[in-house]
Symmetry: C2
């Protein structure tokens, strides 16, 4: 059995005329006659009662024709579904974002994305880099916004922008007296860190030339679960920390006891990129997403 055969079948049932049915199906009459005959043999049922004068659908024929219409109806629906998914922008885009980026970047782009590409249904999940990479590998998400380069050859990435780190310290901190922060100021500072697993923690240590062991002792117990908590610690005078630029809005607005200092030093930024499986078939939607991100960055952040 064949969808084409069912089309032939219905054409004959509709026209009661092999010639006209053939014309409607854009085939010759012998072709259509042959296929109908083959179908009848396959089904073991005579579908049409032919005479030289007329063609009539038999009773079982009527029933089978009705069912054939249902089959073609569903097949047609399949084609329409396919058509509606030809545009790579259509459908859900499952995006993972690291926690130190998501709350500060997403508010900037959700509105523009929704306005420019309403057909993209963004599904966000906020998790640590490792988790995101695992889920990406398991096809549970389509792409991830990360701050670390990827080595896995299964993945590719679109570089988005460089996000500078700012130094954040209490207003009564010794560094308050310095007009400009230099590298050595960072080296020996009382750095507060995020909990383990946050890439920001390692990156901060790297910027400050610290190793894992250096943050043992008093500070080891103070690793914060979120940037918000971290800022609370800074405000409470427990030490200073490095903050990614996009998160600055979160601090300046609410806490007068905190000073934020731009770092005019080399390599004091993290590189944000959009990571996806090499085999992901809807690259277009990622390109569109990346473009929207870049268009809506504050002027202080430079795109790559």
């Amino acid at each position: 059995m064949n969808l084409r055969d069912l089309k032939y079948l219905i054409a004959v049932a509709d026209t009661r005329h092999f010639g006209q049915a053939a014309e409607r199906c854009f085939v010759s009459q012998p072709t259509l006659s042959g296929q109908i005959k083959k179908l009848e043999e396959e089904l073991g049922v005579t579908l049409f009662e032919r005479s030289k004068r007329s063609v009539e659908t038999t009773h079982p024929g009527e029933i089978i024709v009705a069912q054939a219409r249902r089959v073609l109806e569903q097949a047609d629906a399949l084609l329409q579904l396919a058509q509606s998914h030809q545009d790579p922008l259509v459908g859900p885009l499952r995006m993972g974002v690291i926690p130190t980026l998501s709350p500060y970047l997403m508010p900037l782009i959700l509105q523009p994305l929704q306005t420019q590409y309403p057909q993209i249904k963004l599904v966000l999940s906020e998790e640590l880099t490792d988790t995101l990479l695992t889920r990406l590998d398991k096809h549970e998400i389509d792409a991830a916004l990360l701050a670390t380069p990827v080595e896995n050859p299964d993945f590719e990435s679109i570089p988005l922008f460089e996000e500078p780190f700012w130094l954040v310290h209490p207003r009564n901190h010794p560094l308050s007296k310095k007009k400009k922060i230099i590298q050595t100021d960072l080296d020996c500072t009382d750095l507060l860190l995020l909990a383990e697993g946050h890439c920001l923690a390692e990156q901060a240590m790297e910027v400050c030339h610290l190793h894992e062991r250096a943050v043992q002792g008093d500070l080891a117990d103070l690793r914060a679960a979120s940037l918000e908590t971290l800022l609370q610690l800074v405000a409470a005078g427990f030490g200073c920390t490095l903050l990614p630029a996009l998160a600055l809005n979160a601090v300046s607005a609410k806490d007068k006891g905190i000073m934020t200092r731009q770092l005019q030093l080399p390599d004091t930024y993290r590189q944000i990129s959009l990571v996806y499986r090499r085999t992901f078939p809807r690259r277009k939607v990622l390109e569109v997403f990346a473009a929207v991100v870049l268009e809506n960055l504050p002027d202080t952040i430079r795109a790559i």
Copy 2:
């Protein structure tokens, strides 16, 4: 698109493995890979995300696979429908019967038919010969029980039995004195007839050697609409008539004022046969029906 392709599609979606899917479909892996690729190109949608490690269904793929299942479901239902109609006995048998036969024959066969072949759904219609032939030609009925031979080459017939005519007259009729009825008794009798269109009327005239004009006059206005009415007229002494043997039950039971006389004369019977279109594909059900009729005839009627 093709039902086979959809089977391949579902096999891959189920197994997430081209090789195993191919095995399930009894084709080679390259064949299946090729058809899936062709399908993807036709639909304009990437259905699977392949890597050397794994095969995953894309989001549009999931949707299309679900629809493909619906298509195959309906196609499967079609095959099952066809299967259930392979037996020519299954389904309605639309049977036309002439009014002078139906009420006397049908009670004899309905019960046995129902018992022996419960799958046959008999749909009866009782109409005059001409109407039945027209409806047979228009495929409105499948066959007809008639008492006249058919000339139309589109039709064929299965001879069933010869139904003798009996003479029926009032008990106080001159013929009551005769021990045996001979042809000349019939020739000049006061014959009562059924309404025009009933084949029985013409056949009775023929048996009695009468022509159309002979029944003009008084009798012309007395043509009865049914055998029952005819018997009422006989009982009321308006004349005599010829009755087909199967209808005898109807008279003997209810009216003592009527005599029924067997005719031991040549050609005093009508031939009942089952008429159908030459092209009717379920001849088997007709043969079965004919057999049931013959098996359940009273012993007084001889089958052909």
